[in-house]
């Protein structure tokens, strides 16, 4: 053994050094206790809210006709009790038009910009704190929102226009065919939601109107839903309960839907329907394209699920202004 080297440190220094060692050990121990098997916190899927307001004395739907889309919107909504019935002061509203395609309004592949803008103004007038216009387009979102005229019109009317680049997607715990799909987060933050589809021919579901329009709030993988389109559309109708469905039939696309392109496929109808019954809204639009509502699979399924009634006699026709 070596010659003993005597420690020459003071008791005070020994205590100080030992306590720094113990402090380091305690810090590591605390870190381990804090982090051991800590599950990374994943937010539970948020349930889709129900945006409907209590029923008033009015009917479930009203249709207005005329050359000016904005007037049609005002009259149809007024017939259901006015926007004050649906949007309260201080609420935040999400308006979901169909802005799926890089098309101009005359091609009738997207919702008419005047219809969207008028709804924004009505919501603003009803005291809405915030009005968001959002959709996840199929074509390039910038081109879709610009070509459709919705970016300019809704923006000028006082809405925040959000395309896919600015929309965050979150898991929503959807069931059925939509299981595993994400939804637009803005949807979950809105107090009221207004669905504003356009009436179009569709190659698979034959027509696309309101309930099919919910595809636009879903994320990657939504094209899986075409594996059983009728059931998928009915399920979407059972999942999303909008405050109001405003069907734009200013122009309707009668063939080569849902993208269209040729003006020969476009028919000018000059009508807008406002409805609290989404199934009735789809039935009304389908009739414009010459379909008996009960012949369409998704309408029949939605009715069987009790989501609404496809009885066209329930629509209050306001006629031409």
């Amino acid at each position: 053994m070596s010659r003993r080297v005597e420690p020459t440190i003071t008791r005070r220094e020994a205590l100080l050094r030992l306590s720094s060692t113990v402090a380091a050990a305690a810090a590591v121990g605390a870190g381990v206790v804090a982090f051991h098997d800590r599950r990374t916190v994943t937010a539970a899927p948020v349930a889709i809210p129900d945006w409907r307001t209590p029923p008033g004395g009015q009917g479930p739907a009203a249709a207005a006709r005329g050359g000016d889309p904005a007037t049609n919107v005002r009259r149809a909504v007024a017939a259901l009790g006015g926007m004050d019935r649906f949007v309260r002061s201080g609420e935040s509203v999400l308006i979901k038009p169909n802005v799926g395609w890089d098309r101009i309004p005359e091609q009738a592949a997207d919702t008419d910009p005047n219809v969207v803008a008028e709804l924004v103004r009505l919501c603003r007038a009803a005291g809405a704190r915030r009005v968001v216009v959002a959709d996840i387009s199929c074509n390039d979102p910038r081109r879709c929102f610009a070509s459709s005229g919705i970016l300019a019109a809704a923006g000028a009317a006082g809405a925040e226009v959000l395309d896919a680049r600015r929309l965050r997607l979150v898991p929503a715990g959807l069931s059925g065919l939509a299981e595993g799909l994400e939804v637009v987060e803005e949807l979950l933050r809105a107090d009221r939601v207004i669905n504003v589809p356009v009436v179009k021919h569709h190659s698979l579901s034959r027509v696309t109107i309101g309930m099919k329009n919910w595809f636009g709030v879903l994320g990657q993988g939504r094209n899986r839903l075409h594996q059983d389109i009728d059931m998928a559309v009915a399920e979407l109708g059972a999942t999303f309960h909008p405050t109001l469905t405003v069907v734009d039939a200013t122009r309707v696309l009668t063939a080569n839907g849902p993208v269209g392109g040729s003006l020969a496929d476009v028919r000018t109808v000059g009508a807008v329907l406002a409805a609290t019954d989404p199934v009735l809204a789809d039935a009304w639009g389908a009739a414009l394209l010459g379909h008996r509502p009960d012949t369409l699979g998704f309408i029949a399924q939605a009715e069987r699920r009790g989501l609404g009634r496809a009885d066209l006699a329930l629509v209050m026709e306001l006629g031409t202004a």
Binding site: S2, T8, L18, D37, E179
Partner: protein
């Protein structure tokens, strides 16, 4: 006096042999429950990395705390007594270098650039905090396991080939051979685990002490110093690997290893420049998005990025995988291989399933059992196969290539994929057809079709397909359980 060194060498030999033996038993498919992950579970670098990246220290990785506790008491004994890579380097230095005493003295002096390892550690930990865990690239345990098992063993007759393993082998061999010129060069200058332990060693109770009244400044103590920590001058305890070579080397017996010795004045700190450290941190933060710029599997699923069964979703997976290669060794069929480009730059050396190399054995759950950081979760056979009544764990879906398939394209009978399919009922089924052959005769054929709702993507069909090189049925990642967005069929997954 040489007994301390002999004991240390015995420890080193024991742990090196244990490390190699466990790895060999794992690769040999030994069914006994040996503690295959014992080294990797005690790795504070993996623990710190996953804690920063994923916010969790999974399961048995808490043993890393015991190693830190050991370091707080005894200093970096892990480096000097336990680490298999350290032992290999010391062995190479001992065997291959014929240094004179003068050369030894020079080569075992501290160099300022040995502080590089602290910058490497900082860069890796900052990267982890930014969500990309790359500690495994330089972690000595991952590096040694990868280099030995995937780089060198395939060269042994009967060894299983590992494409890309040569990169790991070259790295390992380079590190070991570098000790011919500078002993433990990797430990001294590069090892992030050594740097991490060095941080804690500064609090060590036991440390090397030079009794200055007995010392004649003969410098003999520094001749065999493994850590280049300068026991003669102001000893650097953060660099010292407690090899104890300096104790018997001192003719005056002035060196001791004792509790709470007086500290040299002033105690030496690592030669870190604040400017370089801040630069390192910023560069590391900048590199993380660059690593992802090429895409990888984070944002969009990749067809041939098949992860082992039970692997977490890609983002979570990359926050935990330390590239230790244990799952690759554990896989009985050789299906698990290194990703070279399949998983992007970030995913380099992470495990992927390559069906042409091997298939995922239906009820086998070994890869998850040996994963030290739970990047691959532990599954039970009942859970994996779906025999517990819930949907099985899928790693992908098989697709028939009708242009190469014998019945589909060549009118030649073949049933191999269907025969091999392990699910119940089989995911592969036959469509019966009668076709007219070239000579005009009618030929009855069974054409294979895949029921995507049943397929688990195990890849045995692709592996056994008799169409050589590119199989006529191939698995891609769509439908994998771990990624809810990478789905094929709408609705609930059926059993």
């Amino acid at each position: 006096m040489r007994w301390t060194i002999r004991i240390r060498a015995l420890y080193q030999a024991f742990f090196l042999l244990l490390f190699v033996w466990l790895l060999a038993r794992l690769a040999a498919g030994d069914p006994r429950a040996f503690p295959f992950t014992v080294f990797h579970h005690a790795d504070p670098l993996s623990a710190t990395g996953t804690a920063l990246a994923a916010g969790t220290i999974p399961g048995a990785l808490v043993w890393a705390a015991a190693l830190i506790a050991l370091t707080l008491v005894l200093g970096r004994v892990f480096c000097g007594w336990l680490c298999p890579l350290g032992t290999l380097q010391q062995l190479a230095s001992f065997l291959f270098s014929g240094r004179t005493r003068r050369e030894s003295l020079s080569v075992n002096r501290y160099r300022r650039w040995y502080a590089l390892k602290y910058y490497i550690l900082a860069a890796l930990l900052v990267g982890a905090l930014a969500g990309t865990l790359q500690t495994g690239l330089l972690d000595p345990l991952s590096l040694a396991a990868r280099g030995l098992a995937s780089g060198l063993w395939p060269a042994i007759p009967g060894g299983r080939p590992a494409p890309g393993g040569w990169v790991a082998a070259l790295l390992l061999l380079g590190i070991v051979l570098a000790s011919r010129w500078i002993p433990r060069l990797f430990c001294r200058a590069f090892c992030p685990l050594g740097a991490l332990l060095g941080v804690f060693a500064r609090f060590a109770v036991f440390r090397i002490h030079r009794g200055s009244e007995a010392c004649t400044s003969c410098t003999l103590c520094a001749f065999a110093c493994q850590g280049a920590d300068e026991p003669l001058g102001h000893h650097r305890v953060g660099e010292c690997m407690v090899c104890l070579n300096c104790l018997p080397a001192c003719p005056e017996q002035a060196m001791s290893y004792s509790a709470l010795p007086p500290l040299p004045e002033p105690p030496r700190q690592p030669d870190l420049s604040r400017r370089t450290l801040v630069g390192t941190v910023l560069a590391s933060l900048a590199v993380t998005p660059l690593l992802r710029a090429t895409g990888g599997g984070r944002t969009a699923a990749r067809a041939r990025l098949l992860r082992p069964p039970g692997a977490l979703a890609e983002t979570d997976f990359l926050e935990r995988c330390v590239k230790c290669s244990l799952c690759q060794q554990a896989c009985p069929t050789g299906a698990i291989q290194f990703a070279i480009a399949e998983a992007g730059v970030e995913g380099f050396w992470t495990p992927v399933v390559v069906p042409r190399r091997g298939w995922c054995e239906f009820a086998c759950t070994r890869c998850g059992e040996v994963c030290p950081t739970a990047a691959i979760t532990r599954l039970t056979p009942a859970r994996k196969t779906g025999y517990d009544g819930k949907p099985p764990v899928r790693i992908g879906t098989a697709f028939v290539d009708r242009g190469r398939c014998l019945p589909w394209a060549m009118q030649t009978p073949c049933i191999v994929c269907e025969e091999m399919c392990p699910t119940d009922p089989k995911a592969i089924w036959f469509e019966e057809a009668v076709e007219t052959a070239r000579d005009g005769t009618a030929r009855k054929l069974q054409r294979p079709r895949v029921d995507a709702a049943r397929c688990v993507g195990c890849g045995i069909c692709e592996n056994k397909c008799p169409v050589g090189e590119e199989a006529a049925i191939r698995v891609t990642s769509v439908g994998e359980t771990r990624d809810p967005l990478n789905r094929l069929l709408a609705g609930s997954a059926k059993t």
